[in-house]
């Protein structure tokens, strides 16, 4: 075999060895890359706080980067299969070949090699035969392989952190759910009672109230199960229920029937017909504007006024009739719905107030106590509802309210109703739910003082002193939440005037410079220091 062919065959054989080395390196790098991707995805999931790792899937998760890495490495190796030139360069770079393989490759590619080149090829072939060239391209574990431990460690940390966080979250959710469970149950029971009452009276409004109560209970449970602050959620829901009930209890505006009657009355006259159309169309503002314009017209004002008076009298009569009917209903015990709404509103107010107090005082009462009070109040609320229900039942049976039986809301504190449940909606004066008597004192500093009165004034900040000077400006900023007063004062600086030097700087400098020069020349100043003093006066010398 010719030396050139022998060298080319050697290089071809070594190509596969180099390709294998490339494959291992590429696989390690690709696996490292995919591990990095996995770390990024896991970190994002962990950061978004919804990551629940499954320990059984960990081996599979750790296997996928390797599988992807191997696949990517195969693709890369196939696309970048090492050419002979690269093998020759690698051989020359790896060992003390003295550029033999690069030279041999180039000389072998020549179609007509001269005598010296053939001699060189023969020398290189003989040199290559005498050596194990495979050792120049050793198959080693890729350097990148140990680095895979880094993303694996990061994954382990993320998984451990997520599992730990989930355990804490689950524990907190269970705690929060337990904390508001009784409240939610009370709301459920209240809603169920309202639902029954609504069905019995075919009252859509009560049905709405019942649905809203159930929704609030569900919302509280949902937030508690997510580990959120259940007490806060309960307070919010109760506040919303309070607003809801207040809206229901708010005196109604004119009903559509009443507006229709008013529109009919105004439609009888030409001058007010347009306004009647606006009223019928619901555009009350436009109607009022047109009526005002019509009233300016003296010719028709009297007629319009008469029409309006007639219509309003008619409305007043209807309102009076309705009021009488309501009064009769109330007297006859038909005021159950309004009373129920009123009682719910009052109970919700109390619950909300309790929550605010707890939130503001913080350490004023423990959560357990707050929960207890909330439950108590709900129990009272439920008792009120039960009382109404009993009352409704008795009304249906033809029994009016007994003279000696207190009305809901008037029941004495601690007194049990007919079912043995306590209906307490009123609290002692000066006390709030969740506070023991005497706890209602508010300290501005957050803690009681030392008993020494430092000032004669009742103002906790002391008597107001005079302003520092006339230019001082005092401001009293009321806090947004009304948590007390604050005082701020702006004190202008003393040199804020427009004073100017009364002597020219040059005159002052000249006077001082002579004195300094005299001082410098005295013998008691060290020679080194004299230079510094001169430099100083030179530095402050006025500019020419």
């Amino acid at each position: 075999m010719k030396p050139a062919d022998e060298i080319l065959r050697t290089l071809r054989a070594l190509r596969w060895r180099m390709a294998l080395g490339d494959f291992l390196r590429s696989a390690a790098r690709a696996a490292l890359f995919f591990f990095g991707v996995l770390v990024v995805f896991t970190a994002v999931a962990w950061w978004r706080d919804g990551f629940r790792p499954d320990l059984t899937a960990v081996p599979i998760a750790l296997t996928w980067p390797f599988i992807f890495g191997v696949a990517a490495a195969m693709l890369i190796t196939a696309l970048k299969f090492p050419p002979q030139e690269r093998v020759a360069r690698a051989l020359d770079a790896a060992g003390a070949t003295r550029d033999r393989f690069v030279t041999a490759l180039r000389l072998a590619e020549k179609s007509h090699a001269d005598e010296f080149e053939r001699t060189a090829l023969a020398e290189i072939a003989a040199w290559a035969r005498a050596r194990k060239l495979g050792a120049l391209l050793p198959l080693r574990l890729p350097r990148e392989l140990p680095w895979i431990a880094a993303p694996v460690a990061m994954l382990a940390l993320l998984w451990w952190s997520a599992m730990n966080a989930n355990a804490i979250k689950d524990a907190r959710a269970a705690q929060e759910t337990a904390a508001i469970s009784s409240t939610a149950k009370q709301l459920d029971r209240l809603g169920a009672a309202a639902d029954i009452l609504a069905q019995e009276n075919d009252d859509k409004l009560l049905k709405l109230v019942a649905d809203r109560l159930r929704q609030s209970a569900e919302q509280m449970r949902a937030e508690a199960s997510e580990g959120k602050d259940a007490h806060k959620a309960a307070l919010r829901e109760l506040a919303q229920l309070d607003d809801f009930v207040k809206d229901l209890r708010r005196p109604e505006a004119a009903t559509p029937d009443e507006l229709k009657a008013l529109a009919d009355a105004l439609a009888k006259h030409e001058q007010t017909r347009e306004a009647a159309k606006d009223i019928a169309g619901g555009n009350l503002a436009e109607a009022a504007k047109k009526l005002a314009e019509t009233a300016k017209d003296e010719s028709s004002a009297e007629q319009v006024n008469a029409t309006l008076k007639q219509a309003l009298d008619h409305l007043a009569e209807r309102r009076e009739e309705v009021s009488k009917q309501i009064e009769k209903l109330q007297q006859a015990g038909e005021g159950g719905r309004r009373d129920l709404l009123k009682r719910i509103a009052e109970a919700l107010n109390d619950l909300a107030q309790q929550g605010k107090n707890v939130a503001r005082d913080g350490k004023g009462s423990p959560k357990s106590e707050q929960k207890k009070m909330t439950d108590d109040d709900l129990r009272r609320l439920l008792g009120a509802l039960e009382g109404i229900k009993d009352q409704q039942q008795r009304q249906q049976e033809g029994d009016g309210p007994q003279g000696g039986q207190p009305q809901p809301g008037e029941q004495k504190e601690g007194e049990a109703n007919g079912d043995g449940k306590v209906a307490m909606l009123n609290f002692p004066t000066g006390e709030k739910p969740g506070e023991t008597p005497g706890e209602s004192i508010h300290f501005p500093s957050g803690k009681p003082g030392n008993g020494t009165d430092r000032d004669t004034t009742k103002d906790p900040f002391g008597a107001k002193s005079a302003a520092p000077n006339d230019a001082a400006r005092k401001e009293q900023n009321a806090g947004q939440l009304g948590e007390g007063e604050s005082l701020s004062a702006l004190i202008p600086s003393a040199a804020a005037g427009d004073e100017k030097a009364v002597r020219r700087y040059r005159e002052l400098y000249d006077a001082a410079a002579f004195a300094a020069e005299d001082a410098v020349t005295q013998e008691n100043i060290p020679l080194g220091a004299r230079f510094l003093i001169r430099r100083y006066f030179q530095a402050i010398r006025p500019k020419q």
Binding site: R89, R98, D99, R100, V102, T103, R106, L107, D114, E115, F116, E117, R118, T119, A120, A122, E123, I124
Partner: protein, 329 residues
């Protein structure tokens, strides 16, 4: 290996080593200097020897002349030396019939080995007389061109210490030297050997290794045939380009302290020297290590430092060392 080439290559290696060993009899401890001078001899270049007086520079050239059996001449450069004193002049010759004609009397430059001692003491005009001889291998006197004998090797010396009253060689003339070799002061042991050889009754005798100049020229032809592939040649190009401060491959020292980089003659010197180093190593192709081996001697006089480099005491050897470090063989 072919039969015809192998003996020639073996003869080259043998001849080179024998001359080296013969010179080493007289020149103690200057092996790298001897090798550089021989490389210049077989590549057709010239050598600038830099060293203080008394280090055996003249002895080196004379020994070389004896070993290769070549004609040797020496010129002591002084400020009053004229170009005609080097190249020769036309004199009036009167024959037996009384007719007078101009006849060219060759100067000392007409020799195979020329020692230009303390070349920087002559005026630039005289120094330039060597330019044509070194580059073109001929001199022109009175409009007549006179070919110099081949091989023609100039070995110029200069003293790096005494700068007063000297005329530093211009860059153009420096570029004509293949190598600039620094002759270092001998060590303790080497000094003992020198004293033993030069102060005893028996002084060593140099034997002739080469019979005539034709043999040297034949070996020169062998050297130039050594194959060199482009990848290896690229290394030499990189080294030369790296000496230019404006080149992207310039090293930090080159960018900061070099005013002018090496010329293309520097690359030629690197390649020619590398071919000889390859043959001496028993190879028939040039490797990058061969190029790096001659880099200092071939490039140090072709790199002109700027004022900052001179002021900070930098040398071109530092620049070359950094270039070789950045571009390993």
């Amino acid at each position: 290996m072919t039969d015809s080439l192998e003996p020639r290559l073996a003869q080259f290696r043998t001849t080179f080593r024998r001359i080296q060993s013969e010179m080493a009899k007289m020149i103690v401890g200057q092996d790298d200097v001897i090798e550089s001078v021989l490389v210049a001899l077989f590549t057709g270049g010239h050598v600038l020897l830099e060293g203080v007086p008394g280090l055996g520079k003249t002895m080196l050239v004379r020994t070389l002349g004896e070993a290769v059996n070549l004609q040797f001449s020496r010129i002591q450069f002084t400020p009053d030396l004229m170009p005609a004193d080097i190249v020769g002049t036309n004199i009036i010759h009167e024959d037996e019939h009384g007719r007078r004609t101009f006849q060219f009397r060759a100067g000392p430059v007409f020799a195979n080995l020329l020692l230009a001692d303390e070349i920087n003491r002559a005026t630039p005009k005289t120094q330039s007389a060597l330019l044509e001889a070194m580059q073109e291998a001929h001199v022109t006197v009175g409009g007549v061109r006179h070919e110099l004998p081949q091989p023609f090797l100039v070995l110029a010396t200069q003293n790096p210490l005494e700068m007063e009253g000297t005329y530093p060689l211009p860059e153009a003339q420096l570029d004509r030297f293949l190598f600039k070799v620094k002759v270092r002061f001998p060590s303790n042991e080497e000094l003992h050997s020198i004293l033993d050889r030069t102060t005893s009754a028996h002084s060593p005798r140099v034997e002739k290794v080469v019979n005539d100049a034709a043999e040297v020229l034949a070996l020169r032809d062998v050297v130039r045939q050594v194959p060199l592939v482009r990848e290896v040649q690229e290394h030499a190009v990189k080294l030369v380009l790296a000496t230019h401060p404006e080149d992207p491959g310039a090293t930090p020292l080159a960018k900061k302290y070099v005013r002018y980089g090496a010329s293309p003659r520097g690359a030629q010197a690197l390649i020619l020297a590398a071919k000889i180093y390859a043959l001496l190593d028993g190879r028939y192709h040039v490797a990058k290590t061969d190029i790096a081996k001659g880099a200092h001697a071939a490039l140090r006089h072709r790199i002109i430092l700027n004022f900052e480099g001179e002021a900070e005491g930098r040398t071109s050897d530092e620049v070359i060392a950094e270039i070789l470090h950045v571009n390993p063989a």
